[in-house]
Amino acid sequence: MSTSTMSTSTVPARAGTVRTARGTAPRLTFARVARAEWIKTGTLRSSYWTVGSTLAFTLLFAAGVLLVIPLAPTAEVPDPAAVIIDNYGAAPALGVIGFAGMFAYALVAIYGVLIVSSERSSSGLIATTLAAVPRRTPVLLAKLLVSSVVGAVIGLVAGAASFLLVQPTLAGFGLGSNLFDLDTLQALAGGSVFLGLIAAMSTAIGSLFRSTAAAMGAVLGLLVLAPTILPIIPGIGGIVSEFLPSTAGMMLFQSAAQVGWQPIVTGGAVLLAWTAGAAVVGGVLFTRRDV
């Protein structure tokens, strides 16, 4: 930094002269804190990397695999349509949307954790943030809002893009369907809510930890490891694992026409309860602990 650019005599004008763009006196509001969090996530490269890789990874596995099935040699796969139905269900177009949610959720959880933990572990930014907003609750609420909106949008985009990508192939087998069918829209909305809640829950759990590694471990352990390990426990393991946030939440993108509304509503309620619980515990500790 060249010292010649320093001003030695310029001082800001008398206190209290700073104004907002509208000419009013500056003041904290929740909408402004939320806007600040939105600016923060939009000005970090890591946000774009996480969102971009989530979408790329999801499209590759949800849609890409289906697209490859018809390319297999006819000697080995005489009836690709049957293979598709075997793997993606009777309504493969909806199955693809579900696969998108299943592939995206671990990466969305990472985004949810990073939005809060990066302020602590890679810098002392949290002190700057909370000195400006010393009541703290609006900061956590704003982070929950931003992460759930980003999660929900990823869910919507990943689901819709995967769906549209496989349509020409599915139509070739007479399995095509319309994006604006009620069933399709329901699965898309379910996937979007699923990822929105997963992101918010990850942010809430992430706020409990001082290090990113610990927060990641807790969130991915609960969302990814627990559903594969718990069912091993004989007797209760299977039942308990149904109430894990990711397992329950995955009911959200099932088709109501196929499974009925009851499991969808129950699954959604379980995930919502996890998210709300994590937000309350996170909120209480976030406002009380030393920074």
Binding site: P12, T129, A131, D290
Partner: protein
Amino acid sequence: MIEVEHLTKRFGATTAVDDLSFTVRPGTVTGFLGPNGAGKSTTMRAIAGLVRPTTGTTRVNGMAVASHPAPLTEIGTLLDVRAAHPGRTAHAHLTALAATHGIGRSRVRDVLQLTGMEAAADRRVGSFSMGMGQRLGLAAALLGDPQTLMLDEPINGLDPDGIIWVRRFLRALAAEGRTVFLSSHLMSEMAQTADHLIVIGRGRLIADAPIAEVLADVGASRVAVTSPEADRLAAAIAAPGVAVTNIALGELEITGLDAAAISTVARELDIPVHELVTRTASLEEAYLALTDSALEYQAEPVSGR
């Protein structure tokens, strides 16, 4: 204005701040001085609302900092050199912080200019030197044009030009009637910056007075005397309030009596005096004398002394 009343903060078994009370007044630069680990940062973080006091209260401009509708316009803080995310640009960091209060982009440009950071505005914070990090922290503290500024070790990492700039800058802010409160563990930094000193050690208040008074109180002037009849002279001037130390054979160090009085006594008793010097304590000596008993990590004396 910053008011701290009976602030105590314990971390487990460690008492970082112990029943500390002081007031930082507007229109002055107040230095917050103490050895490393004395509790300066904890006190400042409690004032900013980042650390919950175990007992006691802190107020900024009359209220708890969280009760103000626009905290950034009340108190600007610089509490950590790494106070911004390394992946964000200086401009983005300040824009996000300003957004919490609805402060516009023109003010972001203003504070970048004020702190000489315009050229670095679009660089990532992770590439900054410590001095640039301090400037960015100062820019963030100034965003709300606050009445009160609280800066933890703001001179750390600055080059000599930067130090002079910060000193002038803080003095000018105080001259406008603002409250400027800055910490340091180096007395020499404070000498040219602060009007008033609050000195703490082991979490307790050691001194709270104008800088000149702090110096005067800590044996500001000692008189060194060299005389072949030092013992006789020592006996002659002995009195309550007069301290005489034998620093070497024939050499005395006297506090509580000035050079003129000592020379009069010596002349009356016909004691030859080879040297008679008034020594004013340096800032560092005054500081050491103040905090000597309060050092958390006292070094072992070097053998042979």
